[in-house]
C-alpha cells in the first residue's frame, strides 16, 4: 500500500498510557495530560504517541467529527467525494498544527463535521461502516477519529513533540487519555500510533494480544474488519461490540475480556453468579483477550482501565475529588496530582470505572 | 499369624502365552539370565507355575500359601514350613527327602516333583529373593497380580 508501509503488519509494542477524567464533566487544559505522559518518556521510543480528548468541540457537538490523514492529495479528493455522497458535510478545515522540526514529513491532516442525512437507520452502525470502507478501500487515506465532540490526535514522534505539533495545550476536555509508544519495529506511518478510535470510543493500550487471530476472526462475525492490524484496534472493536451492541456493563466486559479462571469460577458461592460467569465464558470465549495488556478505554461517558487476567502489564489508579487518574506508572499521576486521596493497583481483570455524572 | 502376600489370578485376562513360566524358571536359575538358563544350565529349574488351559480359558496357578495348608500336615521331615514373619509356606530343599506327600496333598496341584540334582519337591516361593514375583512382573496382561494382606494390589514400582 503506497505510502503506508506499516499498514499491513501488526506491531507488537510496549507502551506508556495515562488517562485523566473529571467525573463532573468539567473541562481542563491539555497541559495536564501532557505533563503526565511526558513523565513517562522512558516507556516510549519516539515512534508514536497521541491523545484523545472529550468535550473539545462543544459548538459542533451534534455532528460526527472525522479526523482524517492523507498520504497524498488525490486520496483527499476521493474521500471528500465519498463523504459528500454519504453525509452532509457541515464544516471542514485543516487540523490546526504547529510546525515541529523533528516531525518531518507529516501527512495532510483534515477534520470534517458530518451529519448523517438519512435518518431512521442506525446512525452508529452507518458511521462504523463508512469508516471501515474509507480505511479499507481508499489508498493513502485513514480516518483516525470518528466520534462526536471528541477527537484523537496522534503521530510518529515523542509525546512532547506530538503535543506541541497538535497544540494540545490549547484544547479543554473533561476526559484526556494519552499514549507513548515503544513499537518493536520501525514504522513510518502516523495511523499506527495510538489512541485508536471508532465512534466516540478511544483506546490507549499497552500490550501484545496473543489471541489476536482468534479475536480478529471473531469480530469479523459481527462485521468488524481489522484494517490496521494493530492489537489496539481489536480492543476498540471488542468494547464497541460488547458495550454498545450487546449492552454489557463494564464489569461484565472485564469478565469477558479478562475472564476469571475456571478454578475461580468454581469457587464462586452464589449459584446464579457462577452460572452467569460460565455462560459468559462459553459464549464469549473467542473475545477473551489473552496475553499481557493494560488498557484505558474512554467514550463520552466513561473512562475505564483494565488489565489482562494475570496482570502482566502495570496499571495504577488514583482519585482526588472529581478526578480519576489511571496510568502505567504512579509517577505519571503524582506529577499532576501531588496528594491523591487514594492510590491503588487494580487487580487482574477487574475494571476501574469512571462514570460521568454531570451536575445540572 | 501374619497373612502372606498373595498372587491373584485373573483368568479373563490370561492370554496363555506362558511367559510367566519362562520368567519363573529364569528367576530360579543359577545365572538369572534367560538365555543361559534355558540353553546352558543343566538341570533347568522347575517352574513354580501350574498352567491350565481349556478352549480359550487359561490361567497360571502358583502355590496359594493356604492359611490351612495340607502340605504342611503331610510333610514328614518339616521341609515344608510356615515362615512366621511373612506367613508364606516355604520349602527347604535340604530337608526334603522327596517323598512327595506334599504333591499328593496339595488340592491345587501346584507342588511339583523336581528330578534335577536329586529327587525333591518344588513350588512357588513368591520370588522371596527378588522381592517381587517374576511371573507377576512379566505378565504382559496383568492376568496375575500381587496383593497384600488386605487384598490391595502391590505394584513392582512400589517395592
Amino acid at each position: 500500500m503506497g505510502g503506508m508501509p506499516d499498514r499491513d503488519f501488526r506491531v507488537p509494542s510496549g507502551c506508556g498510557i495515562t488517562g485523566i477524567m473529571n467525573r463532573r464533566g468539567r473541562t481542563f487544559s491539555g497541559e495536564v495530560i501532557l505533563s503526565s505522559i511526558c513523565n513517562m518518556l522512558e516507556r516510549g521510543n519516539g515512534l508514536g504517541s497521541g491523545f484523545a480528548a472529550y468535550g473539545i468541540y462543544p459548538e459542533l457537538k451534534e455532528y460526527w467529527c472525522f479526523h482524517i490523514m492523507y498520504q497524498k492529495a488525490p486520496s483527499k479528493d476521493r474521500v471528500e467525494e465519498y463523504l459528500k455522497d454519504h453525509f452532509r458535510v457541515v464544516h471542514h478545515e485543516p487540523i490546526p498544527t504547529k510546525k515541529v522540526r523533528s516531525l518531518e514529513p507529516v501527512p495532510i491532516l483534515w477534520r470534517y463535521f458530518l451529519e448523517v442525512e438519512d435518518g431512521g437507520r442506525d446512525e452508529e452502525d452507518f458511521v462504523v461502516r463508512s469508516v471501515m470502507e474509507i480505511n479499507g478501500d481508499v489508498d493513502g487515506a485513514f480516518v483516525f477519529s470518528s466520534g462526536k465532540n471528541m477527537g484523537i490526535f496522534k503521530g510518529v514522534g515523542d509525546p512532547d513533540a506530538i503535543g506541541e505539533f497538535y497544540r494540545i495545550h490549547e484544547y479543554e476536555a473533561y476526559i484526556w487519555t494519552a499514549h507513548n509508544r515503544f513499537p518493536t519495529n520501525s514504522p513510518g506511518w502516523w495511523g499506527g500510533a495510538h489512541p485508536f478510535g471508532i465512534l466516540d470510543w478511544s483506546v490507549v493500550h499497552n500490550g501484545e494480544i496473543s489471541s489476536y487471530g482468534t479475536n480478529r476472526r471473531y469480530l469479523e462475525n459481527f462485521g468488524y474488519y481489522c484494517t490496521l492490524s494493530t492489537d489496539t484496534e481489536v480492543m476498540a472493536y471488542l468494547f464497541d461490540l460488547l458495550v454498545r451492541r450487546h449492552g454489557l456493563d463494564f464489569e461484565t466486559v472485564g469478565n469477558v475480556l479478562a475472564s476469571p479462571f475456571w478454578s475461580q469460577i468454581e469457587r464462586v458461592e452464589d449459584e446464579g453468579r457462577r452460572r452467569l460467569l460460565k455462560a459468559l465464558r462459553i459464549t464469549y470465549g473467542p473475545a477473551l483477550v489473552n496475553g499481557p495488556f493494560a488498557v484505558i478505554v474512554a467514550n463520552s461517558n466513561y473512562m475505564v482501565g483494565l488489565n489482562d487476567r494475570i496482570k502482566l502489564r502495570p496499571l495504577v489508579a488514583a482519585v482526588k475529588g472529581d478526578f480519576l487518574y489511571i496510568a502505567s506508572e504512579e509517577s505519571a499521576i503524582r506529577v499532576v496530582c501531588r496528594d491523591p486521596e487514594d492510590v491503588w493497583m487494580p487487580k487482574a481483570g477487574e475494571p476501574t470505572v469512571g462514570k460521568l455524572e454531570e451536575d445540572g | 499369624m501374619r497373612k502372606p502376600k498373595r498372587i491373584i489370578i485373573r483368568e479373563e485376562y490370561c492370554m496363555g502365552c506362558r511367559l510367566c513360566e519362562v520368567y519363573c524358571i529364569t528367576q530360579h536359575s543359577k545365572s538369572k539370565d534367560i538365555i543361559k538358563a534355558y540353553r546352558g544350565e543343566e538341570p533347568r529349574p522347575v517352574s513354580g507355575i501350574y498352567f491350565e488351559e481349556k478352549g480359550f480359558v487359561s490361567f497360571a496357578l502358583q502355590c496359594r500359601h493356604c492359611d490351612d495348608a495340607p502340605c504342611l500336615e503331610a510333610c514328614i521331615t518339616g521341609a515344608m514350613y510356615r515362615d512366621e514373619s511373612t506367613g508364606m509356606v516355604l520349602h527347604d530343599r535340604e530337608r526334603c527327602v522327596g517323598c512327595w506327600m506334599c504333591i499328593m496333598a496339595c488340592p491345587y496341584g501346584v507342588v511339583k516333583p523336581d528330578f534335577g540334582e536329586r529327587k525333591v519337591a518344588s513350588k512357588c516361593d513368591l520370588c522371596i529373593e527378588a522381592e517381587f514375583p517374576a511371573c507377576v512382573e512379566h505378565c504382559p496382561n496383568e492376568a496375575i497380580v500381587l496383593v497384600d494382606e488386605e487384598g490391595e494390589r502391590i505394584y513392582k514400582e512400589a517395592v
Binding site: 489476536y212 487471530g213 454489557l248 453468579r273 489473552n290 | 496363555g16 506362558r18 534367560i34
Partner: protein, 503 residues
C-alpha cells in the same frame, strides 16, 4: 498358465542363538506364522501381517519382523504393491480390502506448518507454575448473553446444551463389533476418568459400557444398529454419521464372523449375519431430510443434549458443513482422508476425500463468513498423530479433535491394517475370545488416559510458549501458524502466512 505366487510382505527373522524354544510366539500368533517342530521353531513369513505381536512378546528378542525387499524389477510407475494387487484380483475377482487410514504419500500439511512462541514483547507462561486452561465446550453458542438488571445481574440467555471437556481431545467413533468390548471399555473408562468423551460408533451400547454412558456420544448411522430410546437417553450427545474419512460415500460392512451373540444383542440383529450399513441414510436424500432427523433426535432427547453430524471431508465440505449448521446441528464432525476404519475398499480409502487440514480451514472460514460459526462446534478427525497436530488443528479453527488411530496405538495397535480379518493379535479389532482377552481394559484405560494426559501437557506447554493461558484463545488463531514450503494457493486456503512473514 503358471500361477503367480504371492510374495511375503514381511520376513520373520529368528535369531536361533537367542531362541529358547519357549514357544510364546507359536502360542500367540493368530495367523499361525510360527510352528514348533521338534526342538526348533519355524516361521512362515507368507502368513505374517506385520503386527509385531510376537516380536514384542518374545522374551529374548530373538524375533525381528523385517520388511521384505522389493520383489519385482524396479519400476517407477508399477510398484510391487500395484503388481501384486492385480495378481490377487485376477485370482479372486474381488475388491481389495484394507483397514486403518489412507497411507498414500499425499502432502502432510501439519508437517508444513510451524507454531509461534513469545519472545520479549510478550511473556511466555509456564504451565507448571500458572493456570493453563484446556476446558472446552462442544455445542452451539448464543451470539450474545443477555443479563437482567434487577437487583443482582441475572442470566437471561438460555445456553444450549454443551459437552464439557477437560481437554479438546475425544475418542472417535469405533463400534463394539469393529473393535472388541475390552477396547471399548478401555477408551470409555479413560474418557470418563479424564473428563472427555468417547463415541459408540454404530455399534449400540453394550450393557457393560453403561457405567461410561454419561460420557458417550451415541452414534446414529445409516444401519440404525442398536438405536433405541434407552440408547439415545443414555449418551451425552447424539451424532448422526453421514460419512467417514476412510470411505466417503461408502457404507459399513461388519462381516458375520464378527457378529457373535453379544454383538448381535447390542446391535439388535441376528447372530452371525453381516451387519450392513447402507451408503446413504435411506431417509436422508437431501439437507432438509437431515434437518428432520436432527430435530427428531432433539425431540427424542428433549433438547437436553447436543446433536451433531459427522461427514467425510470431500471437495464441497465447506458448503455442506454450512448447510448442516443451518439445519440445526450443534456440532459438525469433519473426518479427513487419513481417517481410519475397521474395513474399507483399499482404493476408496486411498483415493477419496481431502486432507483434514484444508477441510478445517475452509469450513471454519465459511462459517465465519456466513456469521454462523457460533451456532455449532467443529470437531476435526482423521489421522492426528501428536499434540502438535491437535494444536495446529485448533489454531486452524477446530473446537476439538477426535482421535481414533492414535488411541488404538495406545492400546497396542501396530497399524498392520488387517482389522477386517478379525484376527487382531492385540485383541482390538476382533471378537475372537482367544484374542479379545489379550487386551486387559485396566491396562488399556490406563494407557489411553496416559495418552490424553501427555498430549494435554504438551498442548499446555505450547500454549504457554505462545503466551496464551486458555485454549479458546488458540481457537481459529491462525496468526500463531506459519507455513513452510507451501504455495500461495495452499497458504490462502489454510488462511496462514508463510514462515518469515511477521504479524
Amino acid at each position: 498358465m503358471a500361477k503367480a505366487k504371492y510374495r511375503p510382505e514381511f520376513i520373520v527373522q529368528r535369531d536361533d542363538e537367542k531362541c529358547i524354544r519357549c514357544q510364546v510366539c507359536v502360542r500367540m500368533c493368530s495367523n499361525d506364522v510360527h510352528a514348533y517342530y521338534p526342538d526348533t521353531v519355524i516361521s512362515d513369513s507368507f502368513k505374517c501381517v506385520g503386527c509385531h505381536f510376537c516380536e514384542d512378546l518374545c522374551p529374548t528378542g530373538a524375533i525381528a519382523i523385517r520388511r521384505s525387499e522389493p520383489h519385482i524389477k524396479e519400476n517407477y510407475h508399477w510398484s510391487g504393491t500395484d503388481v501384486y494387487n492385480i495378481i490377487k484380483q485376477a485370482d479372486t475377482g474381488g475388491v481389495l480390502l484394507t483397514g486403518m487410514g489412507c497411507d498414500r504419500p499425499y502432502k502432510d500439511y501439519f508437517g508444513h506448518i510451524v507454531l509461534n512462541a513469545s519472545q520479549v514483547t510478550n511473556p511466555s507462561i509456564d504451565p507448571l507454575r500458572e493456570p493453563m486452561e484446556l476446558r472446552t465446550f462442544i455445542g452451539g453458542k448464543p451470539e450474545v448473553v443477555i443479563i437482567g438488571k434487577s437487583s443482582e445481574p441475572e442470566l437471561r440467555t438460555q445456553i444450549p446444551p454443551q459437552l464439557e471437556l477437560e481437554t479438546p481431545i475425544m475418542f472417535s467413533a469405533m463400534s463394539y463389533g469393529s473393535i472388541s468390548l475390552n477396547a471399548c471399555k478401555s477408551l470409555a473408562k479413560a474418557a470418563c476418568d479424564f473428563g472427555t468423551c468417547w463415541n459408540t460408533g454404530e455399534g449400540g451400547l453394550h450393557r457393560d459400557l453403561s457405567p461410561y454412558a454419561h460420557r458417550a456420544i451415541v452414534q446414529v448411522a445409516s444401519g440404525r444398529f442398536g438405536v433405541n430410546k434407552e440408547y439415545l437417553d443414555a449418551g451425552c450427545a447424539v451424532e448422526i454419521k453421514i460419512g467417514q474419512g476412510a470411505k466417503p460415500g461408502i457404507g459399513g460392512h461388519l462381516p458375520g464372523e464378527k457378529v457373535p451373540e453379544e454383538v448381535s444383542r447390542t446391535r439388535m440383529i441376528p447372530e452371525g449375519t453381516d451387519a450392513l450399513s447402507p451408503a446413504p441414510h435411506h431417509d436422508i436424500y437431501s439437507i432438509e431430510d437431515l434437518k428432520q432427523l436432527i430435530f427428531a433426535l432433539k425431540e427424542a432427547t428433549r433438547y437436553e443434549k447436543p446433536v451433531g453430524v459427522k461427514i467425510a471431508a470431500v471437495h464441497n465440505v465447506a458448503p455442506i458443513a454450512s448447510g448442516i449448521v443451518r439445519a440445526g446441528a450443534d456440532f459438525v464432525v469433519i473426518d479427513g482422508i487419513r481417517g481410519g476404519t475397521g474395513a474399507a475398499p483399499t482404493l476408496i480409502r486411498n483415493n477419496v476425500g481431502i486432507p483434514i487440514e484444508l477441510a478445517i480451514a475452509v469450513v471454519d472460514s465459511r462459517l465465519r463468513e456466513e456469521g454462523i460459526r457460533n451456532r455449532a462446534s467443529i470437531i476435526a478427525a482423521g489421522g492426528f498423530r501428536s499434540s502438535a497436530d491437535v494444536v495446529k488443528a485448533i489454531a486452524l479453527g477446530a473446537d476439538a479433535v477426535y482421535i481414533g488411530t492414535a488411541a488404538l496405538i495406545a492400546l497396542g495397535c501396530h497399524l498392520c491394517q488387517r482389522c477386517y480379518t478379525g484376527k487382531c493379535n492385540w485383541g482390538i479389532a476382533t471378537q475372537d475370545p482367544y484374542l479379545t482377552k489379550r487386551l486387559n481394559p485396566e491396562i488399556g484405560a490406563r494407557r489411553a488416559y496416559n495418552l490424553l494426559r501427555a498430549w494435554s501437557l504438551e498442548i499446555k506447554e505450547m500454549l504457554g510458549g505462545m503466551g496464551i493461558n486458555a485454549i479458546e484463545s488458540l481457537r481459529g488463531n491462525r496468526e500463531q501458524l506459519r507455513g513452510v514450503g507451501l504455495n500461495e494457493v495452499e497458504l490462502e486456503l489454510l488462511g496462514i502466512k508463510h514462515a518469515g512473514e511477521a504479524w
